[in-house]
């Protein structure tokens, strides 16, 4: 098989297997460089003789073997690995915001359920805080604290998990958790419990209060800590996974 045909066969094999054009082009370019080095090593010029072809192919590898090697090491199919900027730079911001939305749905849903299951004493609508059970007041106060930290921590954990599954660099993990932290640090929570029925309010907003509210700094640090904890927890995962290494 002609060495030109070797590379053409590799190209055809890569196309058949759906390897991206960019990956295929890069591999073929370097294989062509390698073939040129083999010619230089043997002090030959390309002559398309069968013997030369066989020598080149036997050194470089058969086309099907080269295609198999490319497939075994190919760029992962994960969307997160293929689009890391979108996944770990753009997505953290809406993911952080959606985490609060989801948390509020969960919490208010839980409160409604509590009112339905436990009776009118646990219904908060249309009642002053003085009429609430003590447990309910504590639950709402806990919600106010939890909303600052739990949803962003969960959002950071989700993005870190996606990064780990995608096998991307630790920089993407840290970037994603840092961006969630940045948004979390901007969260402003203002709650006023209803002194009189119907006069309570629960407000969430985004601002830049770092300089006068220490709690916002903590809100920023929590998702970042989640990212660092993820990286710390996976730091000993070996790259070269030896098939006989039971520790892997």
């Amino acid at each position: 098989m002609s060495n030109r045909h070797v590379l053409e066969a590799v190209a055809a094999g890569l196309r058949r297997q759906g390897v991206s054009e960019a990956e295929a082009a890069r591999l073929l370019e370097e294989l062509a460089d390698h073939v040129a080095d083999l010619f230089a090593e043997q002090g030959e010029t390309m002559n398309d003789s069968v013997q030369q072809d066989d020598r080149i192919a036997s050194r470089l590898g058969r086309p099907d073997v080269l295609v198999a090697a490319a497939l075994a090491n190919r760029r992962p199919a994960s969307v997160f690995a293929r689009h890391p900027v979108l996944s770990f730079v753009v997505a953290p911001i809406p993911v952080a915001i959606l985490s609060w939305v989801a948390f509020l749905f969960l919490c208010f849903g839980a409160l409604e359920l509590a009112g339905w299951l436990l009776g009118d004493a646990y219904v908060i609508e249309g009642r002053a805080v003085s009429d609430w059970p003590a447990g309910l007041v504590q639950a709402v106060n806990l919600l106010v604290v939890a909303i600052r930290f739990l949803p962003p921590a969960a959002a950071a954990a989700l993005l870190c998990w996606c990064a780990r599954r995608a096998g991307v660099s630790w920089r993407w993990t840290l970037t994603a958790s840092g961006l969630v932290g940045l948004v979390a640090g901007m969260l402003l929570v203002q709650v006023s419990l209803p002194v009189e029925a119907g006069q309570g309010s629960f407000q969430l907003g985004l601002g830049f209060p770092f300089y006068h509210q220490w709690i916002n700094l903590v809100q920023f640090l929590v998702p970042l800590a989640v990212g660092v904890a993820f990286l710390w927890g996976t730091r000993h995962r070996p790259l070269v996974k030896l098939s006989t290494d039971e520790r892997a």
Binding site: E30, D33, A57, S58, A68, W170, L239, V240, L242
Partner: protein, 120 residues
């Protein structure tokens, strides 16, 4: 010469990566140079399809362990690979893991003639 060389026999899983990282820790090299160095330093004990190292190099670069740049080498343009700090760290971990395995396998192979195996 047999053109049907296997890319990576089962018992050599992970070995090409380890060798490439180790060699690139010594100096930056391009693909052909890496292949020649593996043959030289292994005493030609390891045979493989030389083109198969390129997908491995590309994967290592994706993981941030290597960087590559097309440069002029001896009057020819070649893609030269270099180890990153992350690659150095992974190399140290992988060498440690490999030595652990080698020691463990060595203990099993040497065995202990005075130890009776458990019997059911």
């Amino acid at each position: 010469m047999n053109a049907t060389k296997r890319t990576n026999p089962d018992f050599l899983n992970g070995v090409p990566e380890l060798l490439l990282l180790r060699l690139l820790a010594q100096q930056p090299m391009y693909g052909y140079e890496l292949v020649q160095r593996i043959k030289l330093q292994s005493g030609a004990a390891l045979e493989f399809g030389e083109g198969c190292i390129y997908p491995i190099l590309h994967r290592l670069e994706r993981f941030g362990l290597l960087t590559s740049q097309r440069e002029s080498v001896g009057g020819r343009s070649r893609v030269v690979y270099r180890l990153t700090p992350d690659g150095e760290r992974k190399l140290a971990e992988s060498v440690s893991a490999w030595r652990h395995v080698v020691r463990a396998v060595g203990r099993v192979l040497e065995g202990d003639a005075h130890v009776e195996p458990a019997r059911a």
